[in-house]
């Protein structure tokens, strides 16, 4: 189902127009979800960083934060409908006042809890004990580290981020994350520019070797994620004259084998106000669910949401290029 609204960013379309539409290339009338195995909750746009490619436009100056009643509604949905996985993202989710309450309650309900943790936030005042908190709650961590050197990491995420990230990874290893028989610590690689990510297994091997050799750091898996042509990354594509080139690259790399495993087919996304979307990217583009469906977490209904028509638009080429892209890395076999 194509989005019926024209969304703008800085006076231009909020996502580029390729030569052919996603709907046309997809070759089917609609994309339907298969289940809701993951409730992905974006608790707000407040972050201690302001990364160049951030699709959330998150930064230290943002004030959007999920209130307790929305947190409770998410917990209620997880419990009532026995949703197996709660995936908490932001911004830096740790910065909202109810973060620890959210994690503790969700863990107690038996759900698997994933936290998208940016590593540097544990250097903020009052967050120093995060590694211990994560370990006590046995959460699964997913952390961005664009490259295994300071120059490339800092160019995307800000000066000093690499050194802080390395320190954080050591502290996480110390409490049992990313080590043998320990808690799960996955890293995320995304390209530093207008190109597709490399083969996931190949770059994971590089990261494992380099991080161990240089810093004695270990982790479980590396997820490669394609940069989505929206928000800050789109601004950069436009400023640098790469918009058309990047969209052509995504369209030409469309891989039908990715479609069955796209994350939107087994996930639903909640924003800080409780509004539902088919994925975090649609959420940022303010594309709601199809009109006939429940629109907020307060009206969550598993039966209608688990087999829903997914709202797609041309930015969806970002998830179907090459071996595909999702919050868990590639989705198609090599």
């Amino acid at each position: 189902m194509q989005a019926g609204v024209q969304i703008e960013r800085k006076g231009k379309r909020a996502f580029p127009s390729p030569q052919v539409s996603f709907q046309e290339v997809l070759g089917r009338d609609e994309l339907r979800s298969l289940s809701v195995e993951t409730l992905q909750v974006n608790v707000g746009k407040l972050c201690n960083q302001a990364c160049k490619h951030c699709h959330v436009d998150a930064s230290p100056t943002r004030t959007e934060i999920m209130p307790r009643e929305v947190v409770d509604a998410c917990l209620k949905a997880v419990r009532e409908f026995e949703i197996p996985t709660l995936d908490i993202t932001g911004g830096a989710p740790e910065l909202i006042p109810d973060f620890r309450y959210f994690v503790t309650e969700a863990t107690a309900s038996g759900a698997k809890v994933i936290v998208r943790h940016n590593l540097t936030v544990m250097h903020e005042k009052g967050q120093e004990d995060l590694p211990k908190f994560f370990a006590e709650n046995r959460v699964e961590l997913v952390s961005s580290l664009p490259y295994f050197n300071a120059a490339k990491t800092d160019s995307q995420r800000g000066t000093g981020v690499f050194d802080k990230s390395i320190d954080a990874l050591k502290r996480l290893n110390d409490v049992g994350f990313g080590v043998e028989n320990g808690f799960t610590l996955n890293l995320v690689y995304n390209p530093l520019g207008a190109f597709l990510p490399p083969d996931q297994a190949s770059i994971e091997a590089d990261f494992k070797h380099e991080l161990m050799a240089r810093y004695g750091i270990s982790f479980n898996n590396l997820f490669t994620i394609t940069n989505m042509p929206i928000a800050r990354f789109l601004d950069w594509l436009r400023r640098s004259g790469n918009e058309a080139h990047y969209m052509s690259k995504l369209v030409n790399a469309f891989n039908p084998a990715t479609v069955d495993s796209l994350m939107c087919r087994n996930l639903i996304s909640v924003d800080w106000t409780g509004r539902l979307s088919d994925c975090d990217f649609n959420q940022m583009l303010e594309m709601p669910l199809a009109a006939d469906l429940p629109q907020t977490i307060f009206d969550f209904d598993m039966e209608s949401l688990s087999n829903r028509s997914i709202v797609t638009a041309d930015h969806c080429f970002g998830c179907t290029a090459g071996l595909g892209s999702s919050c868990g890395g590639t989705v198609a076999a090599n």
Binding site: Y147, N149, K152, P191, G193, F195, L196, P197, P198, D199, S202, I203, D206, S248
Partner: protein
């Protein structure tokens, strides 16, 4: 002065013409397939060979992309340099590795010129007392 003025005039004339066409256009890289227009069977054979050469084999795709970049710089093809720079990045190489491959190719090219200095020495020796 006259010569310089003449060149400037010619340049201005060329630039003012609507049909002024540079020899290299970035957009033409995406039109590579158009080369098939008059001899599709030959182009198909080329593409099959070209594609097969870049598949993972005893060398990885990353190694092949680095070789491709080194050759592209050596043959000074702007399209190939663009394509193989992207290919290197998309196969996980960084600019340090890519620059090493460019230096190696360039050094071999420099060496290939330099070794011909021996021919000059030989020619000199032949005619010298």
């Amino acid at each position: 002065m006259l010569r310089t003025g003449g060149r400037l005039l010619l340049t201005k004339l060329l630039l003012s013409q609507d049909k002024y066409m540079p020899y290299y256009n970035e957009e033409d890289l995406a039109r590579f397939g158009d080369v098939a227009k008059y001899k599709p069977e030959l182009f198909e054979k080329f593409m099959a060979w070209y594609g097969a050469c870049q598949e993972e084999g005893e060398l990885t795709k990353r190694e092949k992309a680095l070789i491709g970049l080194a050759v592209a710089v050596t043959v000074q093809c702007p399209y190939c340099i663009d394509a193989f720079t992207n290919s290197c990045l998309e196969n996980g190489s960084n600019m340090g590795q890519m620059t090493e491959s460019i230096h190696l190719a360039s050094a071999i090219r420099g060496g290939a010129s330099l070794i011909h200095g021996i021919q000059s020495h030989n020619a000199h020796d032949k005619v010298s007392m």
